[in-house]
C-alpha cells in the first residue's frame, strides 16, 4: 500500500472523487428538474464532499480522518433523507428544495453529519467505553510517523500541530478567496464576477458576497484554531505538565472543528450567503441554505473554542510544576488564561444568536422579525457580546507571544512582568463591556453610546501598558534579529498602527462617519495582523525546531518577512485612505467617479504580494519538516523549560520533572535560573518524604 506516494494518490483520488460526485449531483439535478445545470449547487456539493473524502482515502486509507469524513457524508445524507421522508409522510408541499433537499433536511442532516464524524473518527471512543463502565489507559500510544496527525491522538503536542496545520490550511483557503474578490475590486465596474457569470447557483456579485463573507469567517475560525494550536502545544510544556488536564476533551475540541470547516465550505456551494460574517437578520433570515451551513459551522466550531479554553484554564489551575506560583508563570500562560476566560463564556452568545436565527428560519419563531414583535437590534447585542471580545481572543495570545519572545532576543529581563500579566486580564475584562461600539449607527438607544465609547477608549490603557513594557524591554538591549524576532518587531509596529486607528472609531462623532467604510477594514486588518498573524508566524518560526528537531530556513523566513511587511503596510494604509475618501465596505463595485481605481489597483497588487509571501512560508514550512537544518539543542538560548531538553520533545514531555527556582525572564542577570531539573536521587527522596508525610 505504501509503494505509491500517498500524497500523489491522494490528489489523484481527489480529482476522481470530485468528478464522480459532480456526476452524481448532475444526475440528481437532471432527475429533479429535467435540465443539466453545470454550475448547480447540488453537483458542486457532492463533488466537494466526495473529493475531500477521496483525498484522505488516497492519502491514508479508510481510517482516522477518512472514516470520519465518510461517516459525516453518510450521516448527513441519512439525516436529510429522514427529514425528507417525514415531510413526504406528513404531506408537506415542499418536500425538496432548491438544493435537492429542503432546508430543514439540510440542517438536521448537517447536524447528524457532525456527530457521525466524531463517532467515525473515533474522538468519542474512550468516553463511550466509560459510559459502558470499561476503564481505558490514561495514555494511548500513537502510531509513529506523520500518520498520527490524521488520527485521534490524546497527546497535546500532536493536537497542537493538528490545530496549527488546519489553521494554516484555512488561512490559505480564506486568503485565496480574498485574492479572488480583491481581483474584482482592482478596477471599477464588474470585470469577471459579472451578472452573467454563474457558479454554484450564484451570479458574479452574489459570489463576491459569499466569498467576502467566507473570507471573514474562515479567517476567524483559522485564527481560533491557530490560537488553540499554539496554546495547546506550548502551555503544557511551559507548565511542566505531561499533558492537558483533559486529554480526551482536548482531542474532541480539535476534531469537532474539522466537520465545522467542512460545513463552512459547503455553505459556498449551497447558494452561499451574502450577509458578511456578521449574519445580521433580517437579511440572514432569508439568505439561501448556505446561511444555515454557516450558522451550523460557527456553532460547531464554537464548541471547539469553549471546550478548548475550559481545558486550558483547568490545566493552568492544576498542572503547574513545583514552585510555579502565579507570579512566576510564563507570560504566555497568563495570556492563554485571559483569552480562555473570554472564549469559555462569551462564545456561548454567538452560538445562541446564530441558533435563534436558525430557529427563526426553521420554525418561524420571530425573535428578530419586527413583523412578529421581534427586535433585530437584539441580535446585534447578543452577537457582538461575543464577537467583540473575540478579537481579544485573537490578539491576547499573540501579544503574549510578543512578550514571551522579546526578552529572549534582547537578552534583557521583561520590563514590568506583573503589569503585563495583569494587563492581559484587564483587556479581557474590559473587553466584555465594549460590544455596543459596533452599533452606534444601528438605532439602539442613543444614551447607550457614550458609556460604550468610554469603555472602548479604556481598552487603550491596558494595551498601552503592554506597549510601554515592550519599548522598555527593547531599550538598551542586545537586539538580535533572527526570523522570529523580525516578526515580533513587525507585530509591535503593525499592532501599534491598528491600536492608534482604534480610538477614532470609538469616538461616536467620528464613527458615524467612518462606519462601514474601508477605514474600518484597514483598522481591523492592522489589529489582527499585528495581534495575531505576525506573532503566529513568529511562534511558528520559534517553536518549529521544538516540534520537529529541525529549523526553518532563515533566508526564506526573512524573505517572507521583508515581502509581507511592506506590502501589508501599503495594503492597510491604502484601505484606510480609500475609506476616508468614501469607499464603502463589502461591496462588489464602486463609482469610477470616486477616482479610486488606481488606489485599488495598488491594494490588489499588495494583496498578491502578501499571498506570495505566505506561499513562500508554506513551502519553507513543509520543506523544512524533512530537510531543514538539524536543531536539537537550545537554539535561541532561552531560559524557558521546554528548551532545556533536546528537541523534538518526547511523547510524555519532560523525562525528569523540573522545579521553578527563579524569575522567568531574568535574562542577562548573572547566576539567575528559572528552572532546575529535579535530580533522580532527589526525586526518590521527595517521594519517600511524601510517603512519610502521607502516613
Amino acid at each position: 500500500m505504501r509503494k505509491t506516494n500517498p500524497v500523489g494518490s491522494g490528489f489523484l483520488l481527489l480529482l476522481l472523487g470530485g468528478a464522480v460526485g459532480y456526476g452524481i449531483g448532475l444526475g440528481i439535478d437532471l432527475l429533479m428538474s429535467g435540465t443539466l445545470n453545470f454550475s448547480g449547487g447540488v453537483a458542486s456539493a457532492f463533488a466537494l464532499l466526495l473529493a475531500v473524502a477521496s483525498f484522505f482515502f488516497g492519502l491514508y486509507g479508510y481510517r482516522g480522518i477518512t472514516r470520519g469524513l465518510v461517516w459525516q457524508v453518510v450521516g448527513m445524507l441519512l439525516g436529510a433523507f429522514f427529514v425528507t421522508g417525514m415531510r413526504a409522510l406528513m404531506g408537506s408541499e415542499e418536500i425538496f428544495g432548491t438544493f435537492f433537499f429542503s432546508e430543514p433536511a439540510w440542517v438536521l442532516g448537517a447536524l447528524i453529519g457532525v456527530v457521525s464524524f466524531l463517532f467515525g473518527v473515533g474522538a468519542l471512543d474512550d468516553w463511550m467505553k466509560w459510559v459502558r463502565g470499561i476503564d481505558t489507559p490514561e495514555h494511548h500510544e500513537d502510531i509513529p510517523g506523520w500518520e498520527k496527525y490524521f488520527y485521534v491522538s490524546y497527546d497535546h503536542k500532536v493536537i497542537g500541530i493538528q490545530y496549527t496545520v488546519t489553521a494554516l490550511f484555512l488561512i490559505a483557503v480564506g486568503g485565496t478567496f480574498a485574492m479572488i474578490f480583491r481581483t474584482e475590486l482592482a478596477a471599477s465596474q464588474l470585470q469577471f464576477l459579472t451578472v452573467t457569470f454563474r457558479l454554484f447557483n450564484q451570479t458574479g456579485p452574489q459570489l463576491y458576497n459569499t466569498l467576502m463573507s467566507l473570507h471573514g469567517i474562515l479567517m476567524i475560525i483559522s485564527i481560533l484554531l491557530g490560537v488553540s494550536g499554539i496554546i495547546n502545544y506550548v502551555v503544557p510544556l511551559l507548565l511542566g505538565a505531561q499533558d492537558m488536564a483533559f486529554p480526551r476533551m482536548n482531542a474532541f475540541a480539535y476534531w469537532v472543528a474539522v466537520p465545522a470547516s467542512v460545513l463552512m465550505l459547503m455553505s459556498l456551494v449551497l447558494g452561499g450567503f451574502d450577509t458578511g460574517w456578521t449574519g445580521y437578520p433580517p437579511l440572514s433570515a432569508r439568505a439561501p441554505v448556505g446561511m444555515q451551513m454557516f450558522f451550523l459551522g460557527v456553532f460547531t466550531a464554537g464548541w471547539s473554542s469553549i471546550l478548548g479554553s475550559l481545558n486550558v484554564i483547568a490545566t493552568v489551575l492544576r498542572m503547574r510544576a513545583k514552585g510555579m506560583v502565579a507570579m512566576r508563570m510564563p507570560i504566555f500562560v497568563w495570556a492563554a488564561v485571559a483569552t480562555s476566560i473570554i472564549a469559555l463564556t462569551a462564545t456561548q452568545l454567538i452560538g445562541l444568536s446564530f441558533q435563534l436565527v436558525m430557529f427563526q428560519r426553521l420554525f418561524g419563531m420571530g425573535f428578530f422579525d419586527a413583523s412578529k414583535g421581534g427586535n433585530p437590534v437584539l441580535f446585534q447585542h447578543l452577537f457582538w457580546f461575543y464577537s467583540h471580545p473575540a478579537v481579544y481572543v485573537f490578539v491576547l495570545p499573540g501579544l503574549g507571544v510578543i512578550s514571551e519572545l522579546l526578552p529572549v532576543f534582547v537578552r534583557k529581563p521583561l520590563f514590568g512582568y506583573r503589569w503585563i500579566a495583569m494587563s492581559s486580564l484587564g483587556i479581557a475584562l474590559v473587553g466584555f463591556t465594549v460590544w455596543a461600539h459596533h452599533m452606534f449607527t444601528s438605532g439602539m438607544n442613543e444614551y447607550l453610546r457614550v458609556p460604550f465609547m468610554y469603555s472602548t477608549l479604556l481598552v487603550a490603557v491596558p494595551t498601552g501598558v503592554k506597549f510601554f513594557s515592550w519599548v522598555a524591554t527593547l531599550w538598551g538591549g542586545k537586539i538580535e534579529t533572527p526570523t522570529p524576532m523580525l516578526f515580533v518587531l513587525g507585530a509591535i509596529v503593525v499592532f501599534l498602527l491598528g491600536g492608534l486607528t482604534g480610538p477614532p472609531n470609538a469616538a461616536i462623532a467620528l464613527d458615524l462617519h467612518l462606519h462601514d467604510t474601508y477605514f474600518i477594514v484597514g483598522h481591523f486588518h492592522d489589529t489582527i495582523f499585528g495581534g495575531f498573524v505576525f506573532p503566529f508566524f513568529a511562534a511558528i518560526y520559534y517553536w518549529f525546531p521544538k516540534a520537529t528537531g529541525r529549523r526553518m530556513s532563515e533566508f526564506w523566513g526573512k524573505m517572507h518577512f521583508w515581502l509581507m511587511t511592506p506590502s501589508f503596510l501599503v495594503l492597510t494604509f491604502g484601505m484606510m485612505r480609500v475609506g476616508l475618501l468614501g469607499m464603502r465596505r463589502r461591496i462588489v463595485d464602486y463609482d469610477p467617479a470616486l477616482g479610486l481605481d488606481f488606489s485599488h489597483l495598488i491594494l490588489t497588487i499588495s494583496a498578491y504580494l502578501i499571498g506570495l509571501s505566505v506561499l513562500i512560508f508554506f513551502i519553507n514550512f513543509f520543506h523544512s519538516m524533512k530537510n531543514g537544518e538539524k536543531a536539537e539543542g537550545n537554539l535561541w538560548s532561552s531560559r524557558s523549560p521546554e528548551w532545556q531538553v533536546p528537541s523534538p520533545m518526547p511523547a510524555h514531555n519532560y523525562p525528569v520533572p523540573f522545579e521553578v527556582v527563579g524569575e522567568p525572564y531574568d535574562y542577562g542577570l548573572p547566576g539567575s535560573k528559572y528552572v532546575e531539573f529535579i535530580a533522580p536521587d532527589r526525586q526518590t527522596h521527595h517521594e519517600e518524604e511524601a510517603v512519610i508525610h502521607g502516613a
Binding site: A245, G366, K372, G374, L382
Partner: protein, 256 residues
C-alpha cells in the same frame, strides 16, 4: 471515605434545605399572585439558587484540595481537577441561559406569556422534589450505600422524566391549544425557546442519570464515586436554571 461519620447529618441537612426551598417556592407563588413585586421575586430566586449552589451542589468543594503537591496522579487530585472542569462548563452554560433571559427581557419586558400558573407551580415542585432525591442518592453513594443510591436515583429519574413530559407534552400542547405557537409572536418564541433549551438540558441530565444508575448497579462507584457527584451537580444546575426561568415565564409582570 472521609465523610462517613456525618452520614445522618448530611441527610438531615438535605431535608432542611428541601423544606426551605419548598417554603420559598410557595412564598414566591404567593408574592406573584398577590402583589407581584418583581424585586422580591428576584430576591427569592437568588436565595433559592444560593441554597442549591451551596448545599446541593457543594460549590465550596472547589476550594478544598485534598491532595498535596507531587501527587498529581491520585484519584483525589484528579477529582479536584474534574470538579473545576465541570464548574467551568457550568459557568459557560450559564451564559446560554443568561442570553435567553436577556432575549426574554428585551422582547417581553414586564409582561409574561399567558400560561397556566398552577401547572407551572406543579412542574416546578416536581423538579424541586427530584433535586431532593438526587441529593439523597448522592449522599448515600458517598457513604457506600449502593442500594439507597440506586433507589433515590431511580426516583429522581422518574420525577425528572415527569417534569420533561409535563413541559413538553402537557404544557406545550396546552399553550399551542390556547393559540400560543412558536411562530405566533414574541411571547410564544420566548416561551418555546426557553423551555425547549431547558428541556434539552433536562433530557441530557436524564441520560447521565441513567448511565450512573446502570454503572452504579454494577458496583462501579462503590469506591470512586465522582461520576455520581458530577451527574448530581449537573442535575442541580438544571434545577437552578429553572429557579430563574420559572418566575421569568410564569410569575413576573402582567399578562401580555
Amino acid at each position: 471515605m472521609a465523610h462517613k461519620h456525618d452520614n445522618s447529618l448530611m441527610l438531615s441537612q438535605g431535608v432542611f434545605i428541601f423544606v426551605y426551598l419548598a417554603v420559598l417556592t410557595g412564598l414566591e407563588f404567593f408574592v406573584a399572585i398577590t402583589f407581584n413585586s418583581v424585586p422580591l421575586l428576584i430576591v427569592v430566586a437568588l436565595v433559592k439558587a444560593a441554597l442549591v449552589l451551596y448545599y446541593y451542589m457543594h460549590i465550596y468543594q472547589l476550594n478544598m484540595d485534598p491532595a498535596h503537591e507531587g501527587d498529581e496522579h491520585s484519584y483525589e487530585y484528579k477529582t479536584g481537577t474534574n470538579r473545576i472542569g465541570l464548574w467551568l462548563f457550568l459557568i459557560s452554560d450559564t451564559f446560554v441561559f443568561g442570553g435567553l433571559m436577556v432575549m426574554r427581557i428585551n422582547l417581553l419586558g414586564l409582561t409574561r406569556p399567558e400560561l397556566n400558573q398552577t401547572l407551572g407551580l406543579f412542574v416546578t415542585a416536581v423538579l424541586l422534589i427530584s433535586s431532593f432525591f438526587m441529593n439523597r442518592g448522592e449522599t448515600l453513594m458517598h457513604n457506600g450505600d449502593r442500594k439507597g443510591f440506586l433507589n433515590n436515583t431511580a426516583i429522581t429519574f422518574v420525577l425528572g422524566l415527569g417534569f420533561l413530559l409535563g413541559v413538553v407534552l402537557v404544557e406545550w400542547r396546552l399553550a399551542i391549544h390556547e393559540g400560543m405557537t412558536p411562530d405566533s409572536g414574541p411571547a410564544g418564541a420566548a416561551f418555546f425557546m426557553m423551555t425547549g433549551m431547558h428541556a434539552f438540558h433536562v433530557f441530557t441530565g436524564l441520560i447521565l442519570l441513567a448511565i450512573v444508575w446502570i454503572n452504579g448497579r454494577r458496583g462501579l462507584y462503590d469506591e470512586k464515586n465522582y461520576p455520581v457527584e458530577a451527574a448530581a451537580v449537573y442535575w442541580h444546575f438544571v434545577d437552578v436554571v429553572w429557579i430563574f426561568f420559572y418566575p421569568a415565564l410564569y410569575l413576573i409582570g402582567t399578562l401580555a
